[in-house]
Amino acid sequence: MPSLDPRITRAEPELWSLPERPLHPLEHWPTYEVFVLRTRGSHAQHVGSLHAPDPDMALVLAKEQYARRSQCVAVWVVPTEAIRWTPTEDEDLFQPATDKSYREPQGYLHTRERLEKYRDRLKPLPS
């Protein structure tokens, strides 16, 4: 009896070494970036990408690719081509030339202490 396993019965080794040819658009679907919401109201987190012929199919496929194992309440998909990014080889945009640590949250750590220290020097507001 021939094998029931189609991986054996359908194998066509002669096709594996065919020369490369240009792909038809239907053979080469665009990619979508997938985001999931872990709980209601939480931020959408980027979890990966997938191939799909259109946004509806992308949603259907995204559910099983990225939301079948962990908790999830919603999935978003965005065409990868809709995304614009800064050039990764150029990080100058993100390099400050002077100390800007005052912009960081630590800058506010000792606000109360400083306030207490100078409280007695505050003049009462004119009535």
Binding site: P6, R7, P53, D56, L61, E64
Partner: protein, 254 residues
């Protein structure tokens, strides 16, 4: 009464068991990786649903899910012939059309069974419907997409519909003891469920210019008897394969 209950639950469970197995034959062969994973997941769900139906019978002191699934004689199975059909030439149009017709039938059956007067079944139907929502979305999205795609896609769907239609129709073959079940309020008559099924799928198919053929009496009568144990010629290979592992070491715990 217990025979009636067993028949009802086995018809649901055995359909899911075989459908899960047939869908699972696509693992590694799906048209693209993403779809391979989604369809395999649906296959896994169906097998799990079979187990949940068997468990209701187990809880009544009858056989265990494994005994029902893997240790019955072929004539004791109550599945419809649609789910026994092999994947033939591995045409994904066929797989999707069968999935569409089958999961539409599941929608209709489960929507009705959530109101069953047999509480364990009503509770289970409610639970399964949540998971089935995805199956139904997946099936509809594909039919919608491929039905408006290329001529080749449409032709494949059309041929698949033509081929599977009488089998799908017979998913609603009246069950043995059906009068008793209906009387007890466990399920509506199968003929009534078939009408609801037709109402559900006809507009979806029409939208993509697909029209189910009218099945002839001759075709239908050649498929009759599945729910009383008459197996199709395709069951033997399927049965041998899905019982192979459990038969290799009887009594082993997996």
């Amino acid at each position: 009464m217990i025979e009636a209950l067993e028949t009802l639950l086995l018809s649901l469970a055995d359909d899911d068991l075989c459908m899960g197995h047939r869908h699972a034959e696509w693992i590694g062969l799906g048209p693209i990786l993403e779809e391979d994973i989604a369809f395999a997941s649906i296959a896994q769900d169906e097998t799990g649903h079979a187990q949940a139906y068997y468990q209701i019978l187990t809880d009544l002191g009858l056989r265990t899910p494994d005994e029902y699934g893997f240790h019955r004689a072929p004539a004791e199975y109550r599945c419809a012939h649609l789910v026994e059909l092999p994947n033939f030439e591995y045409d994904y149009g066929f797989a999707l059309m069968r999935h569409f017709l089958y999961d539409a039938a599941e929608q209709v059956k489960l929507q009705a069974l959530r109101n069953s007067r047999y509480d364990p079944l009503a509770g289970l139907a409610e639970r399964l419907l949540r998971e089935e929502k995805y199956h139904w979305l997946h099936a509809q999205t594909w039919i919608h997409r491929l039905g408006r795609s290329t001529e080749e896609a449409h032709t494949r769907l059309k041929n698949a519909l033509q081929m599977t239609w009488p089998y799908a129709w017979m998913l609603f073959e009246p069950l043995p003891y059906e009068a008793e079940m209906v009387e007890a309020g466990w399920t509506p008559p199968m003929a009534e469920l078939r009408t609801r099924w037709l109402e559900l799928i006809a507009p979806i198919l029409q939208e993509v210019d697909l029209f189910p053929p009218a099945p002839s009496e001759e075709e239908l009568s050649s498929l009759a008897g599945a729910r009383s144990g008459r197996r199709s010629p395709y069951f033997e290979d399927l049965y041998r394969e899905f019982t192979e592992v459990s038969a290799s070491e009887p009594g082993a715990e997996w």
